[in-house]
Symmetry: C2
Subunit: 311 residues, 2 copies
């Protein structure tokens, strides 16, 4: 594992709640992010895939980030997603995050044009870094080929890391391919690698990764944090088994609508379940069934102190 990583532990790509008019709801968002940090998250990656970031407008993203920091959340714990298809908009979002003091940014590759050349992708990141032109910038590459289609081959990671050693410091690997994560860890032992699913949390830590950035951390960061804090203990395998079983159940549903329905249920706040198209909310009956399944099979429940009557 890298010594003194900038980010480590359990990081949630925070869900983005919407208000009745369909706009992002800053109050619900701040409440959720504050709760995530209480629930065991060591950091937050707002505007990830799970956050429906690409369904938000540029201005909406910047305003929500400002809300978090205005509410007192330590910006050094924030790794907002800032990657768009264009160097111009990516530079705008990235500069904004750096200016707010964010500890890092999570950057998708340009994902509209398919099968770009490695040279083209290298130039993309070099242009963004040049445009931002700020020594404080720390980039975590966001490798999620099942969604973005465009990913980061090992040779591209190597080239970016070599050219920008102080800036390109890590990667979130949502390939779901352990062999890819292993290859990155072996090739770049001083890189901050985050598996994009807690299925690989223990395996990753044993091989040198620094934690996980996982959708499920929006509802069950506590269990992941317990494992992260005790991964060298004798009980680690049992903890991982329990976490993996829960994750596998979550994955049988449309993940983003499910996670929002879970929060809506335990917060007794139906509006929390709203999603932006192209997603659609889970039908109420299906959501209730899923929530029962998580409770029955995995003992999963949430308690929000604010509500009181949940306890």
């Amino acid at each position: 594992m890298k010594s003194n990583p900038i980010f480590s532990g359990v990081i949630a790509p925070a869900l983005t709640p919407f208000g009745e008019d369909g706009s992002p709801d800053p109050d619900r968002f701040v409440d959720h992010c504050e709760w995530l940090l209480e629930d065991g998250c060591t950091g937050l990656a707002p505007f990830g895939t799970t956050s429906e970031a690409n369904s938000l407008g540029l201005d909406e993203r910047m305003e929500l980030l400002e809300e978090l920091i205005d509410a007192g959340i330590d910006p050094s714990k924030l790794m907002p997603g800032t990657g768009t298809c264009s160097t111009a908009d990516t530079a705008i979002l990235t500069q904004h995050a750096v200016d707010l003091g964010c500890g890092g940014v999570l950057m998708l590759p340009p994902f509209y044009y398919k099968n770009p050349s490695e040279e083209g992708l290298f130039r993309y990141f070099a242009d963004v870094i040049d445009e931002v032109g700020d020594d404080r910038l720390r980039i975590y590459l966001y490798h999620i080929p099942p969604v973005a289609q465009v990913g980061f081959p090992l040779s591209l990671i190597g080239r970016l890391k070599k050219e920008f050693p102080e800036i390109v410091v890590g990667l979130k690997d949502s390939s779901g391919d352990w062999n890819n994560m292993k290859a990155i860890l072996e090739a770049f032992p001083d890189f901050e690698l985050f598996p994009g699913s807690e299925l690989y949390l223990l395996q990753g830590l044993r091989a040198g990764s620094v934690g996980t950035i996982s959708a499920t951390a929006n509802i069950s960061a506590r269990a992941m944090r317990d494992l992260y804090d005790n991964w060298q203990s004798s009980g680690a395998d049992a903890l991982q088994e329990k976490i993996s079983a829960m994750r596998k159940t979550v994955q049988t549903y449309p993940v983003i609508p499910l996670l929002k329905s879970v929060i809506a249920h335990y917060r007794e706040d139906a509006g929390w379940a709203d999603v932006r198209p192209p997603f659609v909310p889970m039908p109420q009956a299906e959501a209730e069934k899923a929530i029962r399944q998580l409770a029955d099979q995995h003992g999963f429940t949430l308690a929000f102190e604010d509500e009181g009557d949940d306890d």
Copy 2:
């Protein structure tokens, strides 16, 4: 063919030239668009795939559109691309285009999340239409599954057309699948269908489409326009054959870098060849070879009156 279509004929998804600092170059852009209309284009679709639209920032797109109209180009001939991954930004770009008097907009589906449900896609467009809330809005759906991955199944087109008959008026079909174009024409004979390649120009016109929106129109609109104007003549098949042969040669190269290199060559303006990452410019030698091939095999050449010494 639809009677009295809003758009018809040969429409170029205008290339976006860049200046030395990497920003879009409004002067080169306006010159190119004015020339396209002289060269036979009946309309322009700035900010299409060929325009590298998704490599531009939101502000850059809006500024370039304003430049065209400020330069005196009739906005009713403009069908700018306004589709992004988010309802918020798509509504901003669309409202901007409508306010400027554009005849229509070309709208990609939200293309980040893969395999969205048809219901989710329907809600996406319904939300954008509601958000813009303007009777002047005319939407051309942009079906380009090889790039966007997310496309428009026939049932979705039917539902959008039924719900918004005055607004959802046409589609650009860049699937490269004639059977899909044929199915749309048969199901919706009053729809303005544009094949996304001139390979289908004559076949399309005979089956009821209204023209083509094609990348190649950036360099050879004149030949397409001749065919469009004479498609019912006895020489139409021979014209189509010639056009198709040229297109097939163009397609053996990376199309966007090639088209820009062709313009750079005949305008004697090397900077025209610049592209934004993730594209890379064609190496000079490869570009020269391609330009020679187009000249030798297809008699292709361009003359720009401004330069004089090209003639």
